[in-house]
Each structure stands twice: as C-alpha cells, then as structure tokens.
C-alpha cells in the first residue's frame, strides 16, 4: 500500500512538473533564439561610436595640437569632389590614357565628379576624392550594388602634386580600353568600406551600405588615439589619464599602429626583396627592414637610454613633414655618433652632410611621383 501511495504521489508530482518544465523550456528556447540572432560581433574601431569622442571635445583640452592640425596631411585625406581645390584639379579636364588608348573626361557637376569615356557605356560619378594632395589625389567611384551595399572603383586617373593628371599609381599595367577595367580597379563592398576606413575618423555602415551623410572624413584624434571616450570620462572625473601614449609603445608596436593604414611588412604577402621598388610607397614597411630599426636596442644614446626609432622620430602626425633635410639628419646623428660610443659614423661622408641622399633617397614611383625610401640603407645605385 505504501509503495502504491508513493508511486501515486510521484506520479502526481511529475504530472505537474512536466508541463511546468515544458513551459520553461519553451520560454528559454524562445529567449535563446532571439538573443542569438541579436548578438553582434565587435566592430572595427573606425565603424564604432562606443569608444570615441568628437574632435571638438579633444579641442577643449588639446588646442595646442588641434589649432594647427588642419595643416597636416592627415587632416585632408578625404574631401568632397566639389571643394574648390578638387574643382581646380579635376573639373573640365580630359585625360588620355596612352597605354589603353582611351580618353577619360572629367567634369564636376552637382557636387559630383562625373566621368565619361567611350570605353564604358554610361557615365559614372565620384563624390569623394582620396588623398591629401601632398603626393596625389584619386577619385573613388561609388554606387550601391545588387545587395544594397556600397561598392567602388578606384579611378584610373589621379591628380598629382606636380599639377598634372596621370595614371593612378599601381595601375600602369591596366590596359583595358573597354568595360569596367578602363575606369580603374573595382573594389568589393567590404574593400570600399576599408578604403574609407583608412581615410576617415568614423565610417558609419548599415547592412553594408555606407551612410555617407554621417561620415567623418579625414583622420581625427580618435582614429589613432584609442579610447578617447574613456580618457575624457577619466579626466572629467578627476582620475589619472589612461590614454595610451605612443612613446610607451615599443617601436614595433608604434610602427604597427601607423602600419594599419600605411601597411605592415608581414601583411604584404610574399617575400620583401631589396630591389622591390613598390616598397618605397609603404614607408612603415621599409623602415622595419632597416638595420637602424632592427638593431636599435643595441645602441645606447644615454647612460640609461636605449635608442628608439619609429615613425615619430621624424614625423609629427599632427603637422606637415618638414622639408628641411637637416631636421631629419639630426635624428640620424642622435644614434650615429662614434665619438660617444653610439652607432658608427658614416665612413664616406661628414657628419654635416645630407645622410638622406645616400641612405634614404627619393625614388621615382612613376613619372609624377617620388617617394622617400624608408628602408635605410645604401642603395646599389649610390654605392
């Protein structure tokens, strides 16, 4: 009897518990289902608003830097096609591409750079021009693709600092006289967003579509200085700054930060050869190949001070680069000073010579453009 009573009791318990459990499982499964669908992956910083502040907020405290920042090339990396400078450089111009034997006509209308050529059936337009003009400026043709995402074509025609239009660097081998190839290099939606990513402070993207009216062009403080929001919160609360300082990074980390846009050696693909002329375009890649960079830890510039070489030795990213060679050779001489038991002096030139002529010469990239070779060495032609 007792056993039967127990069985009956447990049967009643299960009879109640089962529907309750079923209901709980139902609610849980519905919750899991909706939460999994809504979980978003981490975004690239340039596409996120969660960690950054406005430029204006930085200016409140750092006006010594921001007041003159507009002179820096980083402040002019991305401009609209209808700015006076771009109109002057592109409007009503025709470029003849000798290699492909095509004519490309450029005209600025209604805020866009309209591009027509006999090799492509319909006109296309570029709203944004990439580049500060220190070296060159290149239009990026954009449109919404079949998935509603922003795709682009890096235009085959660029404006160069010598005032002329020419074939965009890297496209000299583009021989297409017709079709999309005659316009330039097509970019997928993801690549187009990344183009904007290196030339902007904030790139808003919704389902792969660039929200161009909310774009923050040019390199602002938050693009390189991470977590400005946390920094401002700390400062407002009277806490110590936790802002990352470039001087506290190792030289490799520091160059890597610049290399996110200016390229890194290990991400180029393939072996880096000394005779590769394209390396000159990527200063951060060349610098990391230099003996000066590789051996810097072996040089003491003070009793307790190890030599340090990274991009910021010669380049202040908040200002235009000095064109006075003596400003740069002064950096060389901080380490290369045999008299004080530092790195060796040059055996062939005096200390007041221009080191750059032999060790960091300007190398032609195409007929309009030269880059300083940041692979510090004696190039075969100058030996």
């Amino acid at each position: 009897m007792t056993t039967a009573t127990n069985v009956l009791k447990w049967t009643r318990v299960f009879a109640v518990a089962m529907p309750v459990c079923a209901l709980l499982i139902l609610v849980y499964s519905t919750w899991v289902s909706s939460s999994v669908q809504n979980r978003l992956p981490a975004k690239p910083l340039v596409m996120s608003t969660s960690t950054r502040n406005t430029q204006q907020r930085c200016q409140d405290c750092h006006s010594d830097i921001t007041d003159n920042y507009h002179t820096a090339p980083h402040a002019r990396t991305l401009t609209r096609a209808d700015t006076p400078s771009n109109v002057s450089d592109f409007d009503n111009k025709t470029f003849h591409n000798n290699a492909a034997n095509t004519d490309i006509h450029l005209k600025v209308t209604n805020g866009h750079l309209n591009i027509t050529t006999q090799g492509y059936t319909r006109p296309v337009s570029a709203t944004w021009i990439f580049g500060s003009g220190t070296h060159a400026k290149t239009p990026l043709i954009t449109w919404l693709n079949e998935d509603g995402k922003t795709s682009g074509i890096e235009h085959i025609v660029s404006w160069y600092a010598d005032g002329e239009l020419g074939v965009t660097l890297g496209m000299d081998e583009h021989l297409d006289s017709e079709g999309i190839g005659c316009l330039g290099g097509p970019r997928t939606a993801a690549e187009t967003i990344n183009c904007f990513g290196c030339h902007s402070s904030y790139v808003p993207v919704e389902n792969g579509r660039l929200v161009l009216d909310k774009l923050e062009p040019n390199i602002g403080c938050s693009r390189c200085h991470l977590n400005t929001r946390q920094h401002v919160e700390n400062m407002d609360a009277g806490h110590a700054s936790t802002m990352e300082r470039f001087s506290e990074l190792t030289p490799t980390e520091s160059i890597d930060r610049c290399g996110e846009c200016h390229r890194r050696a290990e991400e180029l693909g393939g072996e880096i050869l000394p005779e590769d002329t394209m390396i000159t375009r990527f200063a951060s890649v060349g610098l990391t190949q230099s003996k000066c960079f590789v051996n810097q830890a072996e040089v003491m510039v003070g009793p307790d001070t190890v030599a340090r070489l990274d991009c910021t030795n010669c380049h202040n990213p908040h200002r235009p680069t000095s064109r006075n060679w003596q400003d740069h050779t002064a950096q060389c001489l901080k380490c290369h000073d045999a008299e004080h038991d530092r790195a060796v002096d040059c055996p062939t030139a005096k200390r007041n010579s221009n080191c750059l002529e032999c060790h960091m010469p300007s190398v032609p990239a195409n007929k309009h453009l030269s880059f300083t070779d940041h692979w510090i060495r004696v190039r075969p032609a100058t030996k």
Partner: protein, 479 residues
C-alpha cells in the same frame, strides 16, 4: 551581419511557418482529438490522464517546438500513434460503432500518410528536401577531392568554418590537423574568435586592426599564428566563399559541398591551383554541358520519386549553382541548372535560376555599363526587382517596354521554360541584340565555338557600343 552556423529553428518566433509546420500542427491536433475519442470510449476521465499518455501526447509537440528539424520523426510518431489509437478504439467499441470508428481513424491515418508522402517528395517544400536513400549531397564527402601536401613528419593544418566541413575533413583526411572549428571553439569559449575570423574574411580585413572590444582583428595574422594552410568553407556560406575569392586564397575543388581554399603563396599547391583555375574557365565558357549524373558522389543515382515518374531532385544542381555563383561565374551556374530546367520545375530551382539571371544582369550593368536587352527582358519576365540595381530596374522597365519585340518575347519565354534550342530558333538573325542573345544561349548550352563566332560577328559589325564591349568581353573569355 552576425554569422550563426546553424540558426536556432524553433517552432515559434523564428520565421514563417512552411507547409511542413502547418501539416505537423494539423496532425498533432488530429492525434489529440483521436486520443480524446479513445479515452471517452474507454470511459476514462479526461482530466487525469496517466503520465505516460501525457508524455506521449506532449513530447512530439515539445520536440518540434524546440527544433523544427524534429518534424519528420515526430510526424512519424504521431502517425503510428494514430494507427494505434484506431486499432485500440475499434477493439473497445461495440461492433456497430466499430465500423464508424474504424472508418474515421482509417481515413485520418490515410490522410496523414498521404500528407507525409507528399512532404517526403519535396514538391511542396521550399527549400527543397526529399526523403531519399544514401547520403545527402550537402554532406557527401565523396565529392571532396584533395591531396594534402605535407612532408613525411608534418601535419597539414587547416581551419574549418563549420561543423559539416569539420566532420568531412576528419573522416577523409586523418593527416589534416584541424586547428579550430566551431564545436571546439564553442567548448573552449572561443566563439568570438571563430566569429571574428569569419567577420574578418567577410569584411576584407586582411591587416591587423583594433576592434571596439579591445581585441585585434585581421585574418592574415590569425591564420599565420595557427600556421593554417587550408581553409574549408561550406558552399552554403556564399558570402564567405565570395570574400575568399577576392583574397590570395584559391579554391581547389569546384564540386565539393565543402570547398578547400589554399594560399597562392603556398607553392606546394601551385599546380593544383592552376589546374582548378583552368577548370573554372572551362565550366564558365568552355564546351561544358553537364548531365545530372555529375552531381552524385556515388557515380550512380537512385531516386524513388523519380522512379515512380516524379521530377528529379534539384538539390545537387542548386548546390553546384550556388558554388559557381559564389565564384562570380553566373553562366557556369546556369549551365549547372540546365539539365533540370525541363518541364515542371521546383520552386527552389526557379528561385536559383532567378538569382543567376539577376547576377548576370548586374554583371552586365557593372562590367559593360548597361544590361543587354535579352537579359533585361528575362529579369523583367521573371518579375523580380529584388537585388537588382535600382538604376537597372528603372532602366529595365522603360527600355523593355520600348524595345520589346514579339520574337524576343517568345524567345525569352522559351528560354525561361528551359527550351533553349527553340529560343535560339525563335530569335531573328538580323538584329544585334538578338544575335547577342543567341550567342549567350549557345554559350549556356556549351556550344562555345558557335557562340564565339556570333560574338565575333558583333565585334566586326555592331554600332551598339554596349554590345561591342560585351561581345569583346565574352569573346576573350572563350579559348
């Protein structure tokens, strides 16, 4: 867009119900009514069912609420239950009522069986699924053909994007060491890393970059740290396949349900990469006219529905078409569908055909500057503006209306119905747009030589700039 390998497919709040979900609910209701009728006949109280009966009643419903994939087995459960109830009810009732119950239950059981059989043929279901024999093409490892290159003492390291690929690789290639795969990432608390790598491929984030959660992204470094030399991606992850096509990673297999990608910097695979690229060119513009048998990993096919006079299962062809589309080869995708595009076509096949046409139309719009009239009319006739450039859509309606001819319309209808030879015959020879249409249909049929001749005719004679560009483009693709 967050990637979820297998989206949770519960019954509620996870998408619209299809025919199978409705059928199951109807079956469950019928089974409930049947159960109540039996208990009434037994003279038992309805308010206190025994635990086992309660379990038997609720369990199928609970299983389907948790996951829609349980529908087939739970449907079978309900069917057998109904049969059992019918037999039991007949035994209990007086003979006069027995016949009535027997007819009622028998009819119900027969209806349910018919419903299940109809669902099993896959004719009403979208996406297509059919009860069959053997291994489904989506998971058939016999189609994966890879020769892992390694030294005598080393493993080949690989990363797999999903569990299906993991299973196939582990089954076929013990010499491949899988660095990470979704299940291991889940167990190891590394789903963010796994998802992040996929997001990096999709976002073309080659170089290291900082994310807003403080982590570093960039696929080059991640794969280099793992020393992964092969990446396996299932065909269903179309966007990931497309993204990888734009990198230095190349596919080594064109018909496997999971695609092995290797880096062009790995010289051990250089010859295989070249061979595969030649195959890609061949399936796109070479004299390739596949039959349905190429899709089966066994080398032979058996489909009971087809044997009973039903249509062929389109899944293998659709899968192959998806693969070719992800390689930016929509013409090869159309060729893959062609063996099934005769007679009545399953809606999944029509949907895939639509996608191919949209891609071709968009490809023409982007590559040449304008879409050709034939392709415009096909897209227009398929009555879809989804995923078509808005400018193309606007242009299509106007130009199709203005330029429509009876011959072109007839040809388009025949083409969509799958009768390509008749479509060619319906097109006139004296119209440039028609000549281009003929050439493209011939190319789709695998008649590359004839197509090239027509393209050359257009290059030599047409004044239409768009057709001239298009003809040169396709003419250059054909060897």
């Amino acid at each position: 867009m967050h990637y979820v390998e297998t989206p949770w497919t519960g019954l509620l709040f996870t998408g619209a119900w299809r025919s199978s979900e409705w059928c199951f609910i109807i079956m469950w209701c019928f089974a409930t009514v049947s159960r109540i009728a039996v208990r009434q006949n037994q003279g038992r109280s309805l308010s206190k069912p025994p635990l086992r009966q309660l379990t038997g009643w609720l369990l199928p419903l609970l299983a389907v609420v948790l996951c829609r994939r349980n529908i087939p087995v739970c449907s079978l459960w309900l069917f057998l239950q109904t049969i059992s109830n019918a037999k039991f009810a007949t035994n209990l009732t007086p003979s006069g009522q027995a016949r009535k119950h027997s007819v009622w239950h028998g009819g119900l059981a027969a209806s349910l069986l018919l419903l299940m059989l109809c669902d099993a043929t896959g004719q009403g279901a979208k996406p297509f699924h059919r009860l069959g024999w053997g291994i489904a093409p989506e998971i058939d490892p016999r189609l994966l053909d890879l020769e892992p290159k390694q030294g005598s003492d080393e493993f080949v390291s690989a990363w797999s994007a999903d569990r299906k690929s993991t299973g196939m690789v582990a089954w076929l290639y013990p010499s491949i060491k899988l660095i990470d795969h979704p299940q291991r990432a889940l167990l190891g608390g590394r789903t963010n890393l796994h998802d992040g790598l996929i997001a990096d491929f999709l976002g073309a984030h080659r170089a290291r970059y900082r994310r807003d959660d403080g982590t570093w992204g960039g696929w080059v470094n991640t794969l280099a740290n793992w020393k992964a030399t092969i990446v396996f991606v299932p065909v269903e992850m179309e966007q990931l396949n497309r993204s990888l096509q734009k990198t230095t990673w190349r596919p080594l297999d064109l018909d496997s349900p999971t695609v092995p990608f290797v880096s062009t910097e790995d010289l051990r695979y250089a010859q295989v990469i070249l061979d595969t690229m030649q195959q890609e060119r061949f399936v796109e513009t070479g004299p390739w006219a596949p039959s349905i048998d190429v899709y089966d990993g066994r080398g032979w096919r058996f489909d009971i529905v087809e044997a009973l006079g039903g249509p062929m299962a389109p899944s293998p062809a659709i899968l192959q078409s998806q693969k070719f589309r992800s390689m930016n080869s929509p013409l090869a995708a159309l060729r893959a569908l062609l063996p099934l595009r005769h007679g009545r076509q399953h809606q999944s096949l029509r949907h895939e055909f639509q996608k191919c046409q949209i891609e071709l139309a968009n490809q023409e719009w982007t590559t040449f500057g304008n879409t050709t009239r034939f392709r415009q009319q096909v897209v227009h006739e398929l009555n879809t503006t989804e995923n078509v450039y808005s400018e193309l859509t606007n242009a299509t309606s106007t130009s199709v209306k203005n330029a429509e001819t009876v011959e072109m319309q007839t040809a388009v209808n025949l083409y969509i119905a799958g009768d390509l030879e008749s479509a060619i015959a319906a097109l006139p020879n004296n119209d440039d747009e028609a000549t281009y249409a003929i050439a493209m249909i011939q190319l789709e049929l695998g008649e590359s030589t004839k197509a090239k001749a027509n393209f050359q005719r257009l290059i030599d004679s047409t004044q239409n700039q768009n057709l001239n560009i298009a003809s040169k483009y396709w003419g250059d693709q054909i060897d």
